[in-house]
């Protein structure tokens, strides 16, 4: 049975890296009038990535806002920062697991 772990972790890194871009844009535009906060669903994108191979089309949606600003901006910096923290942790986890996985394979190859 083929081991899909590395492929899965690769998708996880890809999706987290993409989400990081979207969240970074939100923070940069925290004061831009009319800017709408955007996000992607980590779960949905992972499902899409696993079930299909090749180029992935990300679905970027506008996040629902709890408190719209008077200038039409919907970025809530605190919520975005929490998302960034969560996303960074996911990314780091995937990177760490991938490192472990590669080390494991290496140790198999170099076993005496």
């Amino acid at each position: 049975m083929p081991d899909k772990t590395i492929g899965l972790l690769q998708h996880m890194l890809d999706v987290a890296a993409f989400r990081n871009r979207v969240l970074t844009s939100n923070i940069a535009n925290a004061d831009t009038p009319g800017y709408k906060a955007k996000d992607i669903s980590f779960q949905d994108e992972m499902n899409k990535a696993v079930s299909s191979d090749g180029q992935q089309e990300y679905h970027i949606y506008e996040t629902a806002t709890t408190m719209p600003n008077r200038d039409g901006n919907t970025v809530n910096v605190d919520i975005e920062m929490a998302k960034v923290a969560e996303n960074t942790l996911l990314y780091d986890t995937a990177a760490q697991l991938l490192t472990m996985k590669i080390r494991q394979k290496k140790s198999i190859l170099t076993a005496p």
């Binding site: 871009r21 970074t24 923070i27 940069a28 925290a30 004061d31 831009t32 990314y91 760490q96 991938l98």
Partner: protein
């Protein structure tokens, strides 16, 4: 795969924009009492205009297309001895509201820090990616 360092660029545009905003706020506070300007007349409160700047579908930076002058009414103070007093003895002082500027400054500082945090976060992520190579 597009530019690997795009998130850093986007955060940098955010830092830059907030820095310009802070410069403008500093100018407003410094000139809260300036009754003369090179263009003539009292100083007018300035404000920045933020505009989003599209790199690609996921990355949206920000820039400041221009700095606008706030066309509110000047503060009129009765000071007959003042060199810039008009016939009735009133002096036009800039339409700068110091408290509003301070609130604006706090907002700009927080936004600046948020962008800075994201740069650090991305740097850490990238370092973790590099660590995979050392496995």
């Amino acid at each position: 795969m597009s530019d690997m360092f795009l998130p850093l660029k986007v955060s940098a545009t955010g830092l830059e924009a907030q820095k310009i905003r802070m410069n403008v706020i500093a100018s407003n506070i410094a000139n809260a009492n300036s009754t003369r300007t090179p263009e003539g007349g009292p100083y007018r409160r300035k404000d920045v205009l933020f505009e989003s700047y599209l790199y690609d579908e996921s990355s949206v930076g920000v820039n400041i297309p221009k700095i606008v002058e706030y066309q509110g009414a000047f503060k009129r103070v009765y000071e007959p001895g003042h060199p810039d007093a008009d016939k009735e003895g009133y002096v036009n002082y800039p339409n700068v509201d110091n408290i509003a500027e301070m609130v604006n400054l706090i907002s700009a500082t927080h936004a600046y820090e948020a962008n800075l945090t994201l740069i650090t976060a991305y740097k850490d992520m990238f370092t973790k990616t590099l660590a995979i190579l050392q496995a």
